[in-house]
Amino acid sequence: MELVVNQKHYRLLVDPERRLLWVLRDELELTGAKYGCGEGQCGACTVLIDGAPIRSCITRASAVAGKQITTIEGLAQNGKLHALQEAFIEADAMQCGYCTPGMILSGVSLLKKTPQPSEPEIRRALEGNVCRCGTYPRIIRAVQIAGANSGVQHA
């Protein structure tokens, strides 16, 4: 099958049963997507398919062959962090950081649809992402900061 990850094309000979998460991690060494539950409940494995967040732990790799897959490793462009990555650092929106890649990708997709989301919109969009360290207030702030900054950039 052919996977397009972070704009790179990969030709892979893998069991079509395999979930995208493990193909990314074990075959392509893109370990930014994390295993947290394996049943679509925690969001640690979130990646973007054509810009929309999916749970790679329950998605067959074969099902997304040929589509644009974005992982956390592909978010920064030409060495420049995405505004939300910057904002996570600014808002200190992590403790152990294990949920961070999934949170950021879910947030990126929200910001794309809704550049300046309200707090309830952020909560709703990220409800499927668990931060066991409990940094939720800071993650909300980070998304708001990124929203405000992107507004400035586009103005």
Partner: protein, 741 residues
């Protein structure tokens, strides 16, 4: 009281596995010379100075390995190129000590924090450490770091004095350079160490008074919100947690799990499984597992093993609390250090007779799971009889000991490396995954990575102890507590003693057998003991129709606790009237591990209709609207990271307060998935406000745990305020607002 009071559950497990040794495993390991290993420059060694640090780091009761001079607590190396590396056995699990310890060293070396690199938790490279738990890094390790940093600064001044033939008083260290105040000449820290192989050891006495350690009032870097040091790696996915590591030729492993705890492998047929190409199946006693090239093959291989297990009947959570009371442990558990039975003060019966109101109540807390988002995992590799294991644990040397014991090899043949880990909360004291990966790697003859599934994490780790607490008390009509009798069964003795001033009191901890494997958890039993105590305090206040704040202050002399209580109440607007009649206010306070906390909560009762049509009808639910927590832990090292920890503790506390509970029956966990075990999410998040009380005049205490203890009782008290219903079991509303029995 011993200087360090180890919680009974901090150290508790004997290694679970034992395997026969191989002849080739018995080799001698050489002790490395510091400079052979580090290159030239300046090395500062910190020898241990107190009994407290001896238990914490360096030679302690648990020390068995000999790979490093055992009497050292930390060391620091300034290389010729100016890079500064600090070696500590502590682990980073999200509590941000990589940053706070670097702050401590940078403060003393008068250098930017970015110039400090920390090598942490590697049994070959860093000094022995008992473990990262009990909120002890800040009170015990940070001061040692500061001593090393200060001594290094003084050593650099010596070098500069020699170089410039100048009096020390004309030399200053600031902004990462050493400056000649006469000529204005400045050199980098590394420049002075060029061509040197200078090794200095500071002893306890030198490290004590007059060591040049900067007092908190003069801090420039400490006390500020330095950003998390490796945040960039976290937001780009570059950081490699244990499950992200690979080794050349590495395979993937999985353990064959029994259907229940304490099961014995009765029969084992792996013919079919072994026939799958590129699969290794192994069995050693009751331990069996598979190794393969990928996770799908691994699943097929494990599924193809025909195994029968002998199981035995075991208790369920339905009879848990009667079980605890009926199964006392009379012999002290090995390693147990704790108050157990504290002395009786005054006369309880007399106190009760003098009371205008007598109360008696029973409280329970359920087993709960840590649910670290990074499940236990390990990468294990054997090389000429030496074993190296990467794993996320809070006790690298403890895991080294477990591995050595399981494989019957000397500890210096085992290296444990802990990458910064995807959280632990007290749940990663043991090394199951490490031992399992090592056993599979040995069978496969290749490095093996093993990542526990979420189900395994929910089942084969250990839990926060369940407990039963009974209180008998009396209060006079003017609101003085006249008697206090407190019994805790199993959940633990942390913060068991009341901080209130009560003449007639007794407090007892009763060890019992536990149907489930139990161990440390953020705040340990302090959560259970505070829940019972502070709920009961509210009932006493209600009995004499007093305001809960006023009632507490009336019975409390401790100034530090009064200060946070008043600070939280003020910020919260305690005493102001409720905005809505369905809302309720509650407060609670307490002290644990040198941290003083007070929490005020506002809750509302939400009826399903209220939420709209999409919600399936059911009982009303409790929504936590707002939480204000005031916290004091001495001099604050990093305000923003402290707020982050307090917020995190509150969010985590919501789960244990309202809905988290492990359900089990007959040796099986019934809710071993995230879809069945609810953890706090964005929708559970209240408005959280923190009040930091900074006491520059007091030494810093840890802060990762204690802020959790006030949440559950504050919420329970708020529910009582709103509804008149008292919930005495944690979790309080696992199935919504249902009247307790």
């Amino acid at each position: 009281m011993p200087e360090i009071e180890l919680e009974r559950y901090e150290l508790f497990e004997t290694p679970a596995y034992s395997f026969e040794p191989e002849q080739s495993d018995v080799l001698e390991m050489q002790r490395r010379e510091f400079f052979k290993f580090l290159g030239g420059g300046l090395v500062l060694l910190l020898a241990l100075d107190t009994r407290a640090t001896a238990q914490e780091s360096g030679r302690g009761p648990a020390f068995r390995g000999d790979a490093r001079p055992p009497e050292l607590a930390a060391w620091l190396h300034i290389a010729e190129d100016g890079s500064i590396t600090v070696y500590t056995g502590k682990t980073e699990v999200g509590q941000n000590i990589r940053t706070s310890l670097a702050q401590a060293v940078a403060e003393e070396l008068r250098t930017p924090i970015q110039s400090i690199r920390l090598v942490m938790a590697d049994t070959d490279l860093t000094p022995y450490d008992l473990g990262t738990f009990g909120s002890r890094t800040t009170p015990l390790m940070a001061p040692q770091m500061k001593k090393v940093g200060a001594a290094a600064r003084e050593a650099l001044i010596d070098l500069a004095a020699e170089k410039w033939k100048l009096d020390r008083s004309s030399i200053t260290v600031a902004a990462g350079v050493v400056k000649n105040n006469v000529t204005g000449e400045a050199v980098g820290l590394g420049e002075l160490t060029r061509g040197q192989k200078l090794l200095r050891t500071i002893s306890g006495a030198e490290a004590g008074a007059g060591s040049g350690v900067t007092p908190a009032a003069e801090w420039k870097l400490e006390g500020t919100s330095a950003a998390k040091l490796n945040a960039l790696d976290m937001v780009t996915g570059a950081h490699r947690y244990t499950p992200d590591l690979t080794r050349p030729g590495m395979l993937y492993g999985r353990v064959l799990r029994p259907p229940a705890f304490n099961a014995k492998l009765a029969s084992f047929d792996s013919k079919e499984a072994s026939a799958i190409p590129d699969v290794v199946i192994m069995r050693d006693g009751d331990f069996a597992g598979a190794v393969a090239l990928d996770e799908v093959t691994l699943g097929k291989a494990i599924g193809a093993i025909k195994a029968e297990w002998k199981t035995e009947p075991q208790p369920s959570n339905k009879e848990l609390f009667t079980y605890l009371k009926e199964h006392p442990v009379t012999q002290s558990i090995a390693g147990e250090v704790g108050p157990g039975q504290l002395p009786i003060h005054g006369d309880i019966e007399q106190g009760l007779q003098a009371a205008a109101h007598q109360l008696e109540a029973t409280y329970t807390v359920a087993y709960i799971a840590h649910v670290p988002l990074e499940p236990r995992s390990a990468v294990a590799e054997w090389n000429n009889g030496k074993l190296t294991v990467w794993t996320g644990t809070q006790r690298p040397w403890g895991v080294q000991g477990e591995l050595a014991a399981a494989f019957k090899i000397p500890e210096d043949r085992v290296r444990v490396i802990v990458p910064d880990t995807g959280s632990a909360y007290g749940g990663k004291h043991t090394g199951e995954a490490a031992v399992e990966a090592a056993r599979l790697a040995k069978a496969a003859g290749k490095p093996v990575k093993l990542i526990w599934s979420r189900e395994e994490e929910f089942t084969w780790a250990y839990f926060r102890p369940a407990g039963l607490i009974e209180i008998r008390s009396g209060v006079s009509s003017d609101g003085l507590i006249t008697a206090w009798e407190f019994h805790n069964y199993n959940s633990g003795p942390s913060a068991i003693e009341t901080p209130y001033d009560i003449v007639n009191r007794t407090t007892q901890f009763h060890a019992t057998e536990s149907p489930l494997r139990q161990g440390s958890y953020r705040g340990l039993a302090a959560t259970a003991n505070h829940f019972a105590r502070e709920s009961h305090m509210d009932d006493l206040a209600a009995a004499v129709a007093m305001d809960p704040l006023e009632f507490r202050l009336k019975n409390l002399k401790n100034e530090r606790l009064r200060a946070v209580l008043e600070a939280a109440a003020q910020k919260f607007g305690w005493g102001n009237s409720k905005s809505e009649s369905s809302h309720g206010f509650g407060l609670a306070c307490g002290v644990e591990k040198g941290g003083y906390v007070a929490t005020c909560a506002e809750i509302s009762i939400v009826t399903p209709e209220f939420l709209g049509a999409e919600v399936t009808p059911g009982p009303p639910t409790v929504k936590i609207e707002r939480v204000v927590t005031a916290f004091e832990c001495g001099a604050i090292v990093n305000p923003e990271h402290l707020r982050n920890q307090i917020e995190g503790a509150i969010v985590m506390g919501i789960g244990g307060a309202l809905f988290e509970a492990v359900e089990f029956s007959n040796g099986r966990i019934l809710n071993s998935r995230l879809s069945k075990y609810r953890v706090p999410r964005f929708s559970d998040l209240p408005v959280i406000e923190t009040v930091l009380v900074d006491r520059k005049d007091l030494s810093s205490a840890g802060a990762g745990e204690t802020p959790i203890v006030g949440l559950a009782p504050a919420v329970g008290n708020a529910i009582f305020h709103a509804t008149g219903t008292r919930f005495r079991s944690l979790p309080m509303t696992p199935r919504g607002f249902v009247q307790p029995l």
